[in-house]
């Protein structure tokens, strides 16, 4: 059961045929428009802990989605079964529900003229020729080495290696049909260290389309060991108002709140703190945020969005000014605008940065808090109120002094973005948002 066996040969024709059949059947049942999607995932993941394999999981999943429109009434149905009978039932169920919903003048597929016609190869498919046994052996060796780095590292909580191939199809009754083959591989390691009867845990990971672009499992395990040791013997702070750096691995989350606030669904519902801000200053003037959906090997790359609309490379924020909302066809109609090809969100987002590293950013801050981990959900996109649990390091005299824990950081997102001081060049490329560490002017730190 080699995983590198190509998903392309197995699924190329089958998935397209199912999508086409769903649309045809929907139209036969009276639907005026229809859209179908399929996602097939195949692969494996392994976890190694304390010298032996802990789990070996094979993935082989299929998800099928169908949206039907009766005029401007809509229903969505999803399932896993793809036999003739199941597909027929899906269509019938969708058509039945659609008749029970109400007309909404904004419902419908995106306009036919906007469908992507030129679909470039974005280099997303790089199968990994590795067996689970090879992955297990590599992880066991990496763990052994990491556990020897420092006697305070008591155990690993697991080293994971995963490799998944996917085939995704989207088709609609405009005649659009898109098919994407992609791979996604990852390494991760979580370690536990102990000192004075107190345990701390930290991690590192790497994700890539191409196994050659992954940081090796040895390197990941090493990084995790270093980070875990650094967290030992944390202190508490007293309540204060200080500058805060979001380390690159958590800075993407901050930018995600911004993307959420400019997404069409929150805008038309008026549940965003960034209403009516198009062409207004929302960030400090040195900040530009680009979306690069055509990035080769990008984790979110696609020539078309989840409604088939051709995606474009462009600036969301230019020199601090908001240039684009993130709209799909529904929210665009609600707002009386055009879709921005963001059905499914923004794709491969890059934050402009300075040319200095995290150490220089810390020096620039001089005194304050470096946040490396966040906890909890205290974020309101409606009001911008932000209050979360945090841990990290206390900075004084431009240098890391000691780890700190059990504190919260709070401020309003609007002010946090407007007063964003600087971005370092330590870019984290493991997610959709590519950003370095971010220095903010000030936040309230509660501790005790």
């Amino acid at each position: 059961m080699g995983v590198a066996q190509s998903i392309i040969q197995q699924e190329k024709d089958k998935t397209k045929a199912i999508a086409a059949q769903l649309i045809q059947l929907s139209q036969k049942n009276g639907a005026t428009q229809a859209a179908a999607s399929l996602l097939v995932n195949q692969g494996f993941d392994i976890t190694v802990r304390m010298g032996d394999v802990e789990t070996l999981t094979y993935h082989n999943s299929k998800a099928i989605g169908l949206s039907v429109y009766f005029g401007q009434k809509k229903a969505t149905v999803s399932g896993t079964a793809s036999d003739e009978q199941a597909l027929k039932e899906m269509v019938e169920k969708a058509c039945f529900i659609a008749r029970h919903t109400q007309e909404d003048s904004c419902h419908g597929l995106a306009d036919a003229a906007l469908m992507a016609s030129d679909i470039p190869d974005l280099d997303l498919y790089h199968p990994w020729d590795i067996t689970p046994e090879q992955a297990i052996n590599a992880a066991i060796a990496a763990e052994k080495q990491a556990l020897m780095i420092d006697p305070r590292i008591k155990q690993s909580e697991g080293l994971d290696m995963a490799s998944v191939q996917s085939c995704a199809v989207y088709a609609n009754s405009h005649g659009f049909i898109g098919q994407k083959f992609a791979t996604r591989h990852s390494h991760s390691c979580t370690l536990i260290a102990e000192q004075d009867n107190h345990m701390e845990r930290d991690y590192d990971y790497s994700v890539a389309r191409d196994p050659d672009d992954l940081l090796s499992i040895d390197r990941i395990a090493n990084n995790a060991a270093r980070k875990t040791i650094e967290r030992l013997s944390p202190r508490k702070l007293t309540t204060c108002r200080v500058p805060v750096i979001f380390a690159a691995r958590v800075a993407g989350g901050l930018i995600n709140h911004f993307l959420s606030a400019i997404s069409g669904d929150n805008l038309y519902k008026k549940s965003s703190f960034l209403l009516d801000q198009l062409n207004q200053v929302v960030f400090a003037p040195h900040i530009t945020i680009d979306e690069r959906p055509h990035l080769l090997k990008g984790l979110r790359s696609s020539a078309y969005d989840s409604e088939g609309v051709a995606t474009k490379e462009r600036a969301i924020v230019a020199n601090g000014v908001l240039r684009h909302y993130l709209l799909n066809s529904y929210s665009a109609r609600k707002l009386d605008q055009q879709t921005t090809a963001n059905a499914g969100g923004a794709r491969n987002v890059f934050i402009s940065h300075s040319d200095h590293d995290l150490a220089a950013l810390i020096k620039k801050m001089d005194k304050g808090l470096l946040v490396t981990d966040l906890m909890g959900q205290g974020i309101s996109i409606l009001t911008g109120d932000y209050s979360r649990g945090a841990s990290g390091f206390w900075i004084e005299h431009g240098e890391i002094q000691y780890p700190v824990t059990e504190l919260t950081i709070a401020a309003n997102l609007k002010a946090m973005f407007a007063n964003l001081v600087d971005v370092a060049n330590d870019i984290d490329d493991n997610g959709n948002i590519h950003t370095g560490s971010i220095l903010l002017e000030s936040m309230t730190v509660a501790a005790g």
């Binding site: 993935h59 999943s61 896993t80 529900i97 155990q155 309540t239 906890m375 205290g378 309230t444 501790a447």
Partner: protein, 483 residues
Amino acid sequence: MINDLLKQAEHTLLEPAELSASKLQKVLDTMMARDIDQADLYFQQSSSESWRLDDGIIKSGSYNSSRGVGARIISGEKTGFAYSDELILPQIEQSIQAAKRIARYGGSDNAQQLHYLFGHQLYAGDNPLKTVDDSDKIALMRQIEKAAYGLDPRVKRVTVALSAEHDVVLVAASDGTLAADIRPLVRLDVMVIVEENNRREQGYYGGGGRFDYSFFQQSDRASRYAQAAVREALIKLDAKPAPAGVMPVVLGPGWPAVLLHEAIGHGLEADFNRKGSSVFTNRIGERIASPLCTIVDDGSLPNRRGSLNIDDEGVPTQCTTLVEEGILKTYMQDKHNARLMKATPTGNGRRESYAHLPMPRMTNTYMLAGPHNPEEIIASVEKGLYAVNFSGGQVDITNGKFVFSASEAYLIEKGKVTQPVKGATLIGDGAEVLRKISMVGDDLKLDKGVGTCGKQGQSVPVGVGQPTLLVDELIVGGTETGE
């Protein structure tokens, strides 16, 4: 009734695969070998629907149907797992062969003779997607919407969501377990946005459990849901930013027990303790909470969201005392961890679906009532926070730090509840916080049935509960430093 349950599950899950209980016995034999300690198959068919009324329009209805089988093989501490979304024997056999790669030896061995294992009868097995007409579901949503808009002119937007699941599961395991469950689950959510002088705030209220939609149609429940959501939003319009710093915190009854779930619940799940990664590892018999605290996990409460007739390994759920008068009594176990820790399964083996591995999870976790009157508790606080509703929490089980966010909170000044505050996040240490509980109310309440717990990427429905509590000091993370 119980036999009907098995028959229904066999009809839904086994017949399409041309399987029967006796054929399953042979399939289980093929899963066993010399070094295999445990093997099981989990069959599941699940259907769900959701309806949404937003801004005056029944937006769109959605429906999901999924089915599949998960095959798990355990050898010592090693687990092999594969799943298939096709209920046919060749696919199941392929999954078994893949999962079996974890074992060192090939061949087969005899599984125990399958015996049907009786679970509880905590809820009716009727399909909640079907017991109420679609037109009545829509009428219910309309009724709530109308009530919410009618309550106050500042209400600018109302969203009502109604959803239901119907889950049929069958477990067959090498230890002879054959068990089935049919699980209904419904919920109703009401969200409102209010606006005054250009300030907007949102309010939320929801509820649910293992029954059908008729629950929401009873008495004046619909209008009470609308009232509660509008009330929370209007209170926030008057709320000031929360204070920052250490202070006494009074937690209201019911849902604020998210604190228990985060602060100690996860840390008492057996997997973390077997691996030694929890702050509570090797601490059974020790005092971890004030003597006022007795905390249980009970999956056998009728109709509750976190309840199950059997867990996902076929073990009947039970009421497990985790902490008794402050002393740590036991961990929550699934079969795998119980075997390795030489303990007894507690009916806490749960999984999100056939495509996920089971692990120890909470069901309904709550603290029993104590001696104090709630008013007396508030009156005892000179200056502090009164938190009555929360939007969720998170914990790091290794260092014990937990955090949760208050969605409705007030200042307590000179023993009286005064100014509403917003944006309060509470952070504490799970190993310490329960020692700081100095008063426990006599007003135990369970939550309304909307909790979902996430662990290692798997979501399962859970419940929590507690009486009013006083925590002597907790860090409150607002923006107001009082400088």
